[in-house]
Symmetry: C2
Subunit: 345 residues, 2 copies
């Protein structure tokens, strides 16, 4: 294999979205693949993960991670195969979890790469239930939510990779689990395949009333990863000592966190935090790898192996289809964890 | 001593306040003191504690504790002397910490009474730095705020019994401590007597700018016990991983937590919680006696004994002056912990 003969396809940020991203915010570019230098490896992307947080990187609002610059390759987690190596730690043919972004090839000095077993049955699962979304669910629910047997746990975006995992772990811990999802098809999946006790369609006109009926004992843990109207319906049902891990707010990714029309509910929320002794805690999973990732891999690996936690993927073929798939993700069009098959193994 | 000869003075809730309490919401009543029955003690109140939470009990808004009914004696922590006892556990002359409320005498079956040493130098301190407010400060700061050496801690109501104690504990832990208080006199007290690094007057027109200057490295712990405009100024200065123990919101006690004029900052606040990984946690100190009170007494007793934590009281003489003193407390008129000397020891 000679690197010069290869063409890299990559998708760059053409312009910053105003509100929901549109196709014109993305541009496909082609360029020769760089030759790996001393100590470097050349990676061929097999799988690209598409996740809601990417919307945040497309804006230049201050956040926990720097924005993608105009003209830069969009960021994203990837499973890649080493196709050429000048690095003692990596050999051709090996599989790695990394952060190559929305492109077919990438050169790396090895920083941030994690080797995967070459015979791994589903390498792409390292982008989902066994990767960042699964770790997000595991940490947020168990380290902040701390559900006890018999308590009621409410999970939004219940058919997504984080929500699906949160709910299944909560069931393992003996909680009553109510999912929230968009549309009847997703709700059926959440109940029938994932084993939640109930799942409600947040698009229903009487959603708030349905949620109240489904939670006769109130809500002890609300895993917040959507915001918006779901949060509004949850708030009055929260019990004393409720825990609210906050891991993402997809409903607000498109509005740059602008102030909303009144009334101002912030003083009311703070008074609820006091009177009902809530614990509301934000987290970014990248803060917790050093301390907890090994525990996560051990525990989640066992749950996945024994099918106590089930996992479903929504696979899109071809890098060129990533922008449309991502636009759909923010609208809730995907079924299960969205991944792009960039190349065959 | 014969109980029949005694007259009990008590102050009852005459009507529910609309907004700030006024004198007409209180009524002084006189009645014969009841004779203690079998297993009961008669208590004579020496000290009555006045605290902001009492405003909440005067409303019938749902809260963590039931409201005082119209015509009932107002609730409150007290230091009392046993004046007659038919209870094996108590003898005449003993001092007890209890919850007799706004009255000169009370009959008790012993439930909830804690004996104090009869030779205690300052029995009323068991209502302050060595009692509920001190425990609130100790738990909220150390168990939720968790300040580290070199971090910046901001404390509102810094001259009050909770705020003063929070700041002094934070200094012991090596933090930089910025107090906030109402008026220059209180601010001077907080700096000169309590040893805070700085103290700002929240009534200053440029308060928000002053706070920013006083916190060049941002804010790591904000001990929230006032709400309102102080919270608004603190919010943009909070660092990643900031901790916000929420123990009371005096600025909102008078408005029944009504929704405020817009814009709605709740989505913005939740997005900050996520992006900056805040921990926001409400607590009511009565939840924590069983587990932590002994540790508190040991540690705080030592700090008070060695003058590492100093304590100042604002003493009002006479039960009949309690309503005015309480109305002033909600306006910030007191200097130090407000207690009523109901009778001499």
């Amino acid at each position: 294999m000679s690197a010069e003969t290869l063409i890299n396809n990559r998708i760059v940020l053409a312009s910053r979205p105003e509100g929901a991203p549109v196709a014109a915010n993305f541009r496909l570019e082609n360029e020769p693949v760089a030759e790996p230098g001393p100590g470097q490896v050349l990676l061929r992307t097999l799988w690209l993960s598409l996740d809601p947080y990417m919307r945040g990187r497309m804006s230049d609002t201050p956040s926990y991670a720097p924005p993608v610059k105009i003209g830069e390759t969009l960021v994203g987690g990837t499973i890649s195969q080493v196709v050429a190596s000048n690095h003692d730690g990596f050999a051709s043919g090996e599989l790695v979890l990394g952060f190559s972004g929305w492109q077919k090839y990438a050169v790396s000095d090895g920083t941030g790469l994690t080797k995967l077993p070459t015979d791994m049955l589903h390498p792409s699962w390292a982008l989902g239930v066994l990767g960042m979304p699964g770790f997000t669910a595991w940490h947020g629910l168990l380290k902040i939510g701390e559900p006890k047997a018999g308590e009621t746990v409410v999970v939004a975006a219940a058919s997504g990779p984080v929500g699906a995992t949160v709910g299944q772990i909560a069931k393992i811990r003996g909680a009553r689990v109510i999912g929230i999802a968009g549309g009847e098809k997703k709700c059926r999946h959440v109940i029938d395949e994932l084993g939640f006790d109930a799942c409600l369609d947040h698009r229903s006109a009487d959603f708030a009333a349905q949620l109240q009926s489904a939670c006769p004992n109130g809500i002890d843990v609300y895993f917040e990863n959507v915001g918006g109207t779901v949060f509004d319906a949850v708030l009055p049902l929260l019990n004393d000592h409720a825990r609210i891990p906050v891991c993402g707010i997809i409903a607000h990714y498109n509005d740059d966190y602008a102030l909303q029309p009144g009334p101002d509910r912030l003083p009311y929320f703070v008074s609820l935090i006091l009177r009902k002794r809530f614990r509301v805690q934000g987290f970014i999973i990248s803060d917790h790898y050093a301390e907890e990732h090994a525990d996560f891999v051990r525990e989640m690996g066992e749950w996945v192996r024994t099918r106590q936690v089930k996992y479903f993927e929504d696979i899109v073929d071809g890098l060129e289809n990533a922008p449309d798939a991502f636009i759909g993700l923010l609208k809730g069009s995907n079924n299960g964890k969205l991944v792009v098959r960039v190349a065959n193994h």
